[in-house]
Every structure is written in C-alpha cells, then in structure tokens.
C-alpha cells in the first residue's frame, strides 16, 4: 500500500492526463470517417474498458492471496479493487450505451462483451453487498475472497455463452486496430485512467484497513462526569 501523499499524486496525475487526452481527442484529433464525432467517446470508453478489466484481474489476484496468506492487507486490497473495478465497469456500460444509441440505434444490445460487463457489475457488486452484511472480519475476508474467485472463474463461461447466444459488437479496439491519428489521445487517456485507478485503489485500501482496525479496536471507555466516583461512572 502506498503511504503518505503518494496516492493523491497518482489521482492528480491521472486527472491531468485524462484532461489532456480528452481535450486532444475532443478538439484536435480528426473525426472518424463513418461515425464522425460519435467515435470520440472511444478515447474514454476503450481506456475505461482496459482499466476495468485490469482492476478486476487485480481483484482476482487479491482474492487468491487473501485465501492463501493470512495477511489482512490482501482483504483491504480486494475490497478496494472490487469497488474500483465495479465503478469502472458501470461507467463502461454507460459509455457503451451512449455510443450504441447513435451507432446501433439502441441503447443496449445483448452483445457478449456488453452483457458480460453488465454481469460482472452485478456479480462483483453482489460481493460488495455481502461484505456489508457480515460482521465478523475474518469471515467477511474469506467469504468475499471465495466469491471473487468463483465470479472470476465464471467470466469466460458467461462470455462464451452470451457469444453463442448473440453477437453484434465490433472487434476489440487497440492501438493496432485504430488509425495512427487516434493513437495518442487513446494512450494518454488509458494512462490517465490507470493512474487514477492506482490512486483510488491505494486510497480505498487505506480506508478499508483503517475501518478494520477500528472494528477490532477495544471499545472506548465510558466518560466519567467531573466529580463523580468511578463506581458511579461505571453504573452510568
């Protein structure tokens, strides 16, 4: 876990890069031949997709480590990475819907990647809900790690089942599949969201660790009014 102000610097750097890349993509990069200005959402959409998958992959690693090692830090990292991954995946679905309406004519289509991302939001969102309803920190850590491993193992099956069911989405975008003119804003935004994600995961890890410490701390002593005896204070 990062200490001191380092996570804040990551967040600040991420925001700056995101502003730079988005300004470049919105105002200076050329418009795409067929989609026109609608394509400009790709600069955040594709970058969000890469980082959302990265956050949830990190969540899987944290879940395995939380089950394997007794270090509670992995549980804090798991909580932080699931939260960040769910937020990024939800943003990804929203950006996809905004792009899909003018391009495909519908807000939502049952395409494999779209549907798998929505399933991921609900599967990992369910784990966050589970954490809220388990009071014992040891059970909470184990159960959420187990649920995260199972949800991660389910992702390829969900993807292939929906792919067999229906498919419309275009091929994955990467710097190799898009014109050179679009490379730099996409790369800058991807880096921006990466730094933002690292900063947010570090900060949330710290909050989760502090919350755990507070849960395990002994109860605060009862305040004794001035002039009252200890026995009276204990009774009150």
């Amino acid at each position: 876990m990062a200490h001191g102000k380092r996570p804040h610097y990551y967040v600040a750097l991420g925001v700056l890069l995101l502003l730079w890349g988005s300004t470049w993509g919105l105002f200076f990069a050329p418009a795409e031949t067929y989609m026109g200005d609608v394509q400009r959402i790709m600069y955040v959409h594709v970058a969000t997709a890469w980082n959302a998958m990265l956050a949830l992959t990190f969540a899987f690693v944290c879940a395995v480590m939380a089950l394997w090692s007794a270090n509670t830090r992995w549980d804090s990292r798991l909580e932080a990475s699931i939260e960040t991954g769910v937020v990024l995946s939800a943003l990804l679905c929203m950006q996809g819907a905004i792009w899909a309406k003018p391009t495909w004519g519908v807000w939502w289509d049952w395409d494999p990647r779209l549907t798998t991302t929505a399933v991921l939001v609900f599967a990992f969102g369910g784990i966050l809900a589970l954490r809220q309803f388990v009071d014992d920190p040891v059970k909470r850590a184990t159960w959420s790690a187990v649920a995260a491993v199972i949800a991660s193992a389910d992702v390829p099956i969900v993807y292939f089942s929906v792919r067999w069911w229906n498919s419309l989405h275009q091929l994955q975008s990467s710097p190799e599949t898009v014109s050179r003119a679009f490379h730099w804003p996409l790369r800058i935004n991807a880096l921006g969201i990466l730094f933002l994600m690292i900063g947010l995961i570090s900060l949330r890890t710290r909050v989760a660790a502090l919350r755990r410490e507070a849960e395990q701390a002994p109860p605060l002593p009862v305040a004794v009014p001035h002039g009252a005896s200890l026995a009276q204070g204990a009774r009150s």
């Binding site: 609900f122 388990v134 009071d135 040891v138 187990v146 491993v149 949800a151 292939f160 067999w164 069911w165």
Partner: protein, 221 residues
C-alpha cells in the same frame, strides 16, 4: 465416500421431513409460471415460443427459496460446528448438500414441466432429453447455490443476499438451459442441442470442482 453417503442420507431425510415447504416452493413456482403469461398476453403462439424461458425463470426464482432454506437446520444451534467435528471431510458435507439440493430442484423442475405444457401448450414427446436438461440445469444452480447458501445462512439479510450473489453467476446456466429446452420443444434443425448441453456440462464440471474445493474455507473460519 462413506461419509458422503451418510451426509447425503441425512440431507435427503431433512428434505423429506420438510416436504411441506417443498410443496409451498412448488406452488410459488407454478404461480410464477401463471403470472409470466400475463406479462405476454393471451397469444398462444408467443407463449409457446417463450415457454422454455418462463420455465427456467420460474425454476431459478424458486431455487433461491429451496437453497436459502437448505442450511437452515445447520445454522440453528450451531449444528454446522457439530458436523465439522465429525470425522468427515467438509468436502463430503458440501457434496452431500449440493446433491440433495440438485435432487430437490430436479423434482421441482420436473414438477413444473406439466404446468408449462398446460399453460403454454409446449408439449414434446422427447421427455428423457428434457429431463436430462432439467437435471443438468438443477445441478448448475445447485453447485454455486449451495456454497453461497452456506455463507448467507450465517449473514444478515440472507434472503436478499443469496439471489444477489447467485443470479449473475448462473447466467450461463439460464442461457444454456433455456436454449436447450427450447430446441427440444420446438425442434433442432441446426443440431445445436449438443453445444448447449456441452456448455451446461462444462459449467457443472468447473463449479462442482471449484465450489467443492472452496467450501472448506467457507465453513472453517
């Protein structure tokens, strides 16, 4: 293996003794099938076309009631801790419970089939393959469902948590079961039934292995 049989016998006996609850779950599933038809309207052709989807949605919704209650006896008076003290592997306890849940869901699904035929006019002479799909689908719901039921039975708001955790996970089971059931009812000119059955089988193999491995960690801590 001996421990697995003993635990399975115990779980099947528990299911038999709480059969009044199973009847209530069946009534819930049947009423869900009745209500789904109101969402579509009295169009016989459309209802027949969607029959498989309605059957599996009904079974999936009912399954949460069966699964949520499956660890109720173990949650009361710390009976689970007593079971774990026995010279039996926690894995045997998991597989016994998951098999008993599969049996309960299979019976529920098989019981809902006549309702589907009557309400949606979705009859088929191919009953054995249909029962095979109901069995595979029930096993697919039961494997992760049993593991999550073990967790949520010890948590607050278990009736809400179980479907919240289970439903996104069993999307492949729902898709494959609906498709396979539909192909059996309406015919399979492109020979797709094998692929969907294979997907259901793969889901079952992965989840029965993985959940069996992880169950020990869920009940140990």
């Amino acid at each position: 293996m001996k421990a697995l049989w003993a635990a399975l016998r115990k779980d099947l006996l528990l299911q038999w003794r709480t059969r009044a609850q199973a009847a209530a779950v069946y009534a819930f599933g049947a009423s869900a099938l009745l209500l789904f038809s109101f969402a579509v309207g009295p169009q016989a052709a459309l209802l027949r076309e969607q029959a498989a989807g309605f059957l599996w949605l009904g079974l999936m919704l009912s399954s949460t009631l069966t699964l949520a209650e499956s660890f109720q006896a173990e949650a009361e008076q710390r009976a689970l801790e007593g079971l774990l003290l026995l010279p039996a592997s926690p894995r045997a306890l998991y597989y016994a419970k998951a098999l008993a849940n599969t049996a309960a869901l299979f019976l529920l699904g098989a019981g809902l089939l006549p309702m589907m035929v009557i309400l949606y006019d979705a009859a088929t002479p191919r009953v054995p393959p249909l029962l095979g799909i109901v069995l595979l689908g029930s096993a697919g719901l039961s494997a992760p469902g049993t593991l999550y039921a073990a967790m949520t039975s010890q948590a607050r708001a278990r009736q809400t948590l179980l479907p919240l955790l289970l439903f996104p996970l069993v999307v492949p089971v729902l898709l494959a079961s609906v498709k396979a059931t539909s192909l059996i009812i309406h015919g399979d000119p492109m020979g797709q039934l094998g692929s969907w059955t294979l997907l259901l089988t793969c889901f079952n193999v992965i989840h029965w292995s993985l959940c069996g491995l992880l169950f020990e960690r869920v009940v140990e801590d």
